[in-house]
Symmetry: C2
Subunit: 231 residues, 2 copies
DNA sequence: GGATGTGAAGTAGTTCACAGCC
DNA sequence: GGCTGTGAACTACTTCACATCC
């Protein structure tokens, strides 16, 4: 576990989930050559209220200018600092099926300090092939030193994979398998589950709730309708 | 938008996100031939407190037995009803790259009433090929009638794809592109963003928060360490 | 003037603690 | 005895409203 740093006060869970969205918005504006943005604009693009944006950003220290909003460059930088993007960390991916392949080849996955250390699979047909500039290694061999392990294997194998990763001293897991993992204290598990997202969407459709009822995203849930167009 | 039904009282957003997890746990137990489970056990497997489980389930009507817990079959059924799994709905997928392919071939994505209606792509090399028992159609042609549109295209194309889907009367979107969408009122957008999940995990690692500090999943966030083993 | 940053108020979600029932 | 279901207390998050500063 990395050393804690107390540069910013402790951020709330919903705030942490929104920061990457704000950062992406900042990137979009920077790309367009715009260098100022205000909480109102960030809010409309992110699907939250301007007040929420200001509270979130205030937690990173006061770097806005009253009357003029935030400087896009500084905004991006501060969020990066808060999320620890100045640190590099190694990621191993276990399971090089369609999903694993999609992840490592995505321009959106291994960013902000994440570095692919190695790829593993149990399938002899896949081991030895080249994927994303790495030769796929056998999962029963030695495991590279890494901070995060990404699990992209079938549900039934996920627990076994988690155990082997933990044994190899990987104590942060991102699990794409539809399987709750049992892990010892000291290991963080984060779940990504596509079908749950679909199911939440359907619940709202069936019940007429969600965006129409004014419902809001709860750590990347349903977003408020968003009429503003980026200039 | 489907007709609302008021079988159960309105559920809170965090509850809705947890129900699919409970349901999966119920499935696991049913598969093992176990037919009773209590809130304590569900909680340990899902990474939440027993009280939270009981509150969530109480929202679906009282179907537990004091002193004996919940019947696994009834639990599964009630959650299915609450989430609208008895209804079938059509899903179109736009973008048949690695990710789109991974999704439609996953045994975990198109479940619980979701039915793949059609696949679209703009790439002439992909259009016409067979994927998951469907011939990939050109995105500039007519779009099938569907309830949900899944967007698996590069970030820069996502807004255009969303607009065309909305024009074709698809008013619920699941967006896998790292891009906030601007949509008219009446359209629900739900985001799935891999890199954000990684970033949240890293934040906690850098700050020593998360599972060690007793932090808890916030709609599929970091789960509490989970020592219990399924019998 | 105009937008930030923040006390204070309001709302939502979780946890406690226990009555109620099997 | 044991576990559910729930009022009451508590905690967390959001929104209001406005003083503050450019």
């Amino acid at each position: 576990m990395a050393t804690p740093r107390l540069r910013t006060r402790r951020l709330s869970e919903p705030t942490i989930a929104r920061l990457p969205v704000y950062q992406r918005i900042a990137e979009g504006w920077a790309l367009r050559g715009l260098n100022r943005i205000d909480s109102q604009q960030i809010g409309e693009l992110a699907g939250v209220t301007a007040t929420t944006v200001r509270r979130d950003l205030a937690g990173l220290g006061s770097f806005g200018t009253r009357g003029a909003g935030y400087e896009v460059r500084v905004l991006h930088e501060r969020i990066g600092e808060a999320l620890g993007h100045d640190r590099e960390y190694d990621v191993v991916v276990v399971g090089v099926g369609n999903l694993g392949r999609a992840l490592v080849n995505s321009s959106n996955f291994l960013i902000r300090g994440a570095r692919l250390a190695a790829l593993y699979d149990v399938d002899a047909a896949v081991v030895g092939t080249r994927v994303a500039d790495h030769v796929v290694l056998p999962f029963d061999g030695p495991i590279a030193r890494a901070t995060v392990g990404v699990i992209c294997v079938p549900a039934l194998d996920a627990q076994m994979v988690a155990e082997r990763l933990i044994e190899a001293d990987v104590h942060a897991l991102l699990n794409f398998a539809p399987q709750v993992l049992t892990v010892p204290i000291g290991t963080a598990v984060h779940y990504v589950d596509f079908s749950i997202q679909l199911q939440i969407l359907m619940y709202h459709l069936n019940n007429g709730t969600g965006p129409l009822g004014g419902g809001l995203l709860h750590s990347l849930g349903i977003a408020t309708p968003n009429q503003l167009r980026v200039p």
